[in-house]
């Protein structure tokens, strides 16, 4: 099966490993990630103001590209996924915004949010199935206690993201269990790491990040698992003394292909 793939700027630079593991694991699962041609950065954050049009067009272009190929649009980075889904929702529900965006786009057929936007985790759960993921495990991660870290971007706003219960999510824990490890539940798993405020007020980001790390450690986690390069950066920068690992890396390890990805 083929899906359209939007890697995003960070997966081409600081988070190349997040991307490489994602591609290799998809292959194992029989999914081809077809990178969108000439994609442009999503901007990192979705501006909720309805009169902000130009900054959302790179997302609209990617969404329309997937529509023309009749494919779902998949991303791995939490931020790209959040921006793509929120933009798509605005194209579906805000007529004025959609008409102004389409005016810029000059497409043969207007884009009105037809594309299905999936996070890679949703692809695993809803298209592949975690039972099929479990079948590919050759190196079960027995005995590892892993804390899923959702942060804010994967789950909120829930009315748009519709990925999981925003206060009691299970999608990453279900993946952890499929890979043979133990999932640890802790209070701060869906609180923000401080995000981009790391640039404006590093002390603020530090305080938010430490709360998350300490909460995971209090639950006796060995590893924190994330889908977001900025979460990983903030936690590591701010004193995480347990490993913070991308979920795709953990999957590659369980599939026994981690070394191939580093090649």
């Amino acid at each position: 099966m083929k899906v359209s793939y939007f890697p995003g700027c960070t997966l081409k630079t600081k988070a190349k490993d997040l991307d490489a593991y994602a591609r290799k694991c998809a292959e194992i699962l029989g999914i081809t990630l077809e990178e969108i041609e000439n994609w442009q950065c999503c901007g990192g954050v979705f501006t909720t103001a309805r009169d902000e049009i130009a900054t959302k067009l790179s997302s609209v272009r990617a969404l329309n590209d997937a529509k023309e190929k009749n494919q779902a649009l998949v991303s791995v980075c939490s931020a790209c996924h959040n921006v793509l889904k929120q933009t798509n929702y605005a194209m579906q529900t805000d007529e004025e915004f959609a008409s102004r965006a389409n005016n810029y786009m000059q497409l043969d057929e207007a884009y009105l949010g037809e594309t299905q936007v999936l996070h890679y985790l949703e692809l695993l759960r809803d298209v592949v199935g975690f039972d099929k993921v479990a079948e590919k495990v050759v190196n079960p991660l027995k005995g590892k206690k892993i804390a899923a870290y959702y942060g804010c971007l994967l789950l909120r706003p829930n009315s748009v993201m519709k990925m999981d219960d925003p206060e009691n999510p299970t999608i990453i824990e279900d993946l952890i269990r499929a890979l043979g490890a133990e999932a640890v539940i802790y209070p701060y798993r869906n609180e923000c790491c401080g995000g981009y405020v790391a640039l404006e007020n590093p002390d603020s980001a530090k305080e938010k990040s430490l709360k998350v790390t300490n909460s995971a450690k209090n639950a006796e986690a060995d590893i924190i698992l994330t889908a977001c390069p900025l979460c990983k950066y903030n936690l590591e920068k701010n004193g995480a003394d347990i490993p913070v690992v991308y979920f795709t890396e953990l999957m590659a390890e369980a599939f026994g292909i981690k070394e191939d990805c580093n090649a």
């Binding site: 988070a15 954050v45 103001a49 909120r156 609180e191 950066y233």
Partner: protein, 130 residues
């Protein structure tokens, strides 16, 4: 209310899509806000101050740049007010004014370290400048 303020109030309400009159002043948004300690005006105050037209202090407040856009206040408000969208609209009203960028590309080099992901830079510039 001065005409100018009234226009600004209408503009903020229009581009945010938020109706501040739905708020029942329960304070849950501020209670759940992870940036509460860094803010002088808190999410529930943004809602009530925009409603009453007391917008000038918000435009000049550092609170605009401390919000993490984590949407906790949006998802946890029992009345569906969506305070973060209002904060975003006030921030845009501030940074869209000529010469009012809070952060520019020139400010970035001194903030860099070798690990910082691109995502952080593009997000900060989108939030803090026009």
């Amino acid at each position: 209310m001065r005409k100018e303020i009234e226009n600004l109030q209408n503009e903020i309400i229009r581009i945010s899509g938020v109706n501040p009159r739905k708020c029942m002043r329960c304070g849950k948004c501020s209670g759940t806000c992870p940036a509460y300690d860094e803010m002088e005006y808190h999410p529930h105050q943004f809602v009530s101050m925009v409603e009453s037209g007391d917008i000038e202090p918000l435009l000049n407040s550092k609170s605009l740049y401390q919000c993490l856009t984590c949407f906790a206040c949006v998802d946890r408000c029992p009345r569906g007010v969506e305070p973060a969208k209002l904060i975003e609209a006030v921030r845009l009203a501030a940074v869209r004014k000529q010469g009012q960028n809070h952060m520019t590309a020139n400010d970035i080099p001194e903030k860099l370290d070798e690990d910082i992901p691109q995502q952080a830079l593009v997000s900060a510039l989108r939030k803090y400048s026009k």
